[in-house]
């Protein structure tokens, strides 16, 4: 079973993503902030894909992304940015420059589309 790690400080959103992806057959691990997320990516069973929020109280999404890239174990894990933020082209570019960032998505993306994207990247 493929594993998703979701790093987001919004509890209800995280819960919903977790429920949805569990139903369609993924294993989901949750992290409440950047530090916690980075630790879980490194220490626990390696996730196949990471959903990453941008605005979080401790580490920002871009910082987490940078740290993930620096570590041998995590540098090749594909990352999808899922943000409630009003992202502009600058932020878009900034994130896309990071090697393992696959896409920059709005939290309002429909779940089946997100699921299709995940399936395309890591398989079922």
């Amino acid at each position: 079973m493929k594993k998703i790690l979701i790093i987001d400080d919004s509890v209800e959103f995280k819960e919903m993503i977790c429920d949805y992806f569990q139903i369609i057959g993924y294993k989901v691990e949750k992290a409440d902030n950047g530090t916690d997320g980075f630790k879980k990516a490194l220490d626990t069973e390696k996730p196949d894909i990471i959903f990453l929020d941008v605005m979080m109280p401790d580490l920002s999404g871009i910082e987490v992304l940078r740290r993930l890239r620096e570590e041998e174990k995590t540098k090749n894990i594909p990352v999808l940015i899922l943000t409630g933020s009003n992202f502009d082209s600058n932020m878009d570019k900034l994130f896309k420059m990071e090697s393992n960032c696959r896409d920059f998505l709005s939290k309002s993306i429909s779940l089946p589309i997100l699921a299709k994207l995940v399936k395309n990247i890591i398989g079922e």
């Binding site: 919903m16 949805y20 605005m55 009003n86 502009d88 939290k107 429909s110």
Partner: protein
């Protein structure tokens, strides 16, 4: 008088020749004397009545040309003909002087007025000709252009503000006749909106370029505050909204939901999507206006897109008993553009038609293409749009005036902004009482 003197002289000359012929000394001498005396008399007359007045005339004309004013009138001391000339010359110079001073006063008045205006307004004003000569400017302009206050004229090469100098040179070299450019001034860290327009200056036979530079720093700050505010609100709204949508999708996919509840859920789903769409539109609008929208380039399948739009709006169409469908000669085209943005545009257009089309009407989505462009249209059987409104409906909040109860009128403005950002055009064709047809086109970047 002259005639008589000449006549006497001729007579004397004739007598002289006669006496010479006869060799009579006495007569000869006396004739010569008379001749001499009359010559002296004639010269004196000529000097007094012709030469002296003519020099006076010349002096006076020279003076007039120098000072443009008649210092003193030329005395009428010549003979009849000369006096005629002097008299009329005096009159003409007096008239010319009056005319000139009248015009100069007027010009000075106008100049003072325009200077007062130019130096009072808070904008910087600069008028140059196409060769770079500065024709006119206000004090404010000197500051921003970093030109030292000199008494003599200057050219744009005296402009020490490099950024602005480059901008001005670009404008001189461009073919644009007028335009607006936003400029960030490195010196004072302020933003300026620079408007220019070119026009012909007949007196110097050159093109002039008029620049007005307006400080828009405060507007920018307000804009920024507004965006930050929207950003904050929407950021906080998105997570709970997405959560509701997500759970709705989970419930949807559950086959065990009863018939009754699935209708409720469908409505909740529509409403949540509508709310999310509205939030997206507000955000897109501020982004699109600031040209900072990250436009995606992804393959679009026109039929799939239209089907998605219809699916999202079919609930309302059903409730209003409106037949919402894909037009029969819809062409399924693949091209490159921004999927989400296009979906928002089409949803807004269909949503707009749904609002105005009465019960049991019809709304259809169409698509066709030519060599360069892809065209989409949404056509309805609503009341139509009067000719004088066909442009203004695409302006922000216009709907508020006319159909206050119908929403906040951002939809069509967002469509226009989005389509223009994607490099296309949008317009509406309509026949009053029969319906409206919204059409937009997009450049056709072929799908790979």
């Amino acid at each position: 008088m002259m005639f008589y003197i000449v006549l006497i002289n001729l007579f004397l000359l004739f007598s002289l020749s006669y006496s010479l012929f006869r060799l009579n000394d006495h007569i000869l001498i006396s004739l010569l004397s008379v001749c001499l005396i009359s010559l002296v008399f004639f010269s004196f007359y000529l000097y007094q009545k012709r030469i002296k007045p003519i020099s006076a005339i010349i002096e006076s004309i020279k003076d007039f040309l120098k000072t443009h004013s008649l210092q003193k009138i030329i005395p009428m001391k010549g003979d009849k003909e000369i006096n005629f000339i002097i008299n009329n010359l005096n009159k003409m110079m007096l008239e010319l002087q009056a005319f000139k001073s009248f015009h100069i006063d007027q010009v000075v008045d106008e100049r003072n007025k325009s200077n007062a205006v130019m130096n009072t307004i808070s904008d910087s004003v600069l008028l140059i000709d196409s060769s770079g000569e500065v024709i006119h400017h206000n004090l404010k302009a000197l500051g921003i252009l970093k030109i030292e206050l000199k008494t003599k004229g200057f050219t744009i090469s005296d402009i020490k503000n490099e950024g602005l100098l480059n901008l001005i040179n670009d404008v001189i070299n461009s073919k644009e006749q007028k335009g607006n450019i936003e400029f960030e001034n490195k010196d004072d860290r302020k933003f300026y909106l620079i408007s220019f327009s070119k026009f012909r200056i007949p007196s110097i036979k050159k093109d002039g370029i008029f620049f007005v530079m307006r400080d828009i720093t405060v507007e920018k700050e307000i804009q920024k505050t507004k965006e930050d505010f929207f950003h904050m609100i929407t950021h906080d709204m998105r997570a709970p909204l997405s959560t509701i949508r997500g759970y709705l999708e989970i419930i949807f996919s559950d086959k065990n939901t009863s018939e009754k509840y699935s209708r409720y859920i469908e409505n909740i789903n529509y409403s949540v999507n509508k709310l999310a769409g509205m939030i997206d539109d507000i955000l897109n609008m501020t982004k699109l206006e600031g040209k900072r929208f990250p436009i995606k380039k992804e393959p679009i399948y026109s039929k799939e897109l239209a089907e998605r739009v219809i699916l999202s709006q079919k609930l309302i169409a059903k409730l209003k008993e409106i037949n919402l469908y894909i037009d029969k000669d819809f062409e399924d085209i693949t091209f490159i553009s921004d999927n989400t943005l296009l979906e928002r545009v089409l949803i807004n257009l269909v949503g707009n038609s749904l609002k105005f089309t009465p019960k049991s009407g019809e709304i259809k989505i169409g698509c066709y293409n030519d060599n360069e462009k892809v065209y989409f249209y949404v056509s309805d059987t609503g009341p139509g749009i009067p000719e004088d409104k066909r442009k203004s409906i695409f302006e922000k909040y216009v709907q508020m005036e006319e159909h206050r109860e119908m929403g906040f009128g951002l939809g069509l403005a967002m469509c226009k902004s989005a389509i223009e950002n994607l490099g296309g055009e949008i317009w509406v064709e309509s026949e009053l009482g029969k319906g409206a047809k919204f059409i937009f086109n997009l450049p056709k970047e072929k799908g790979t």
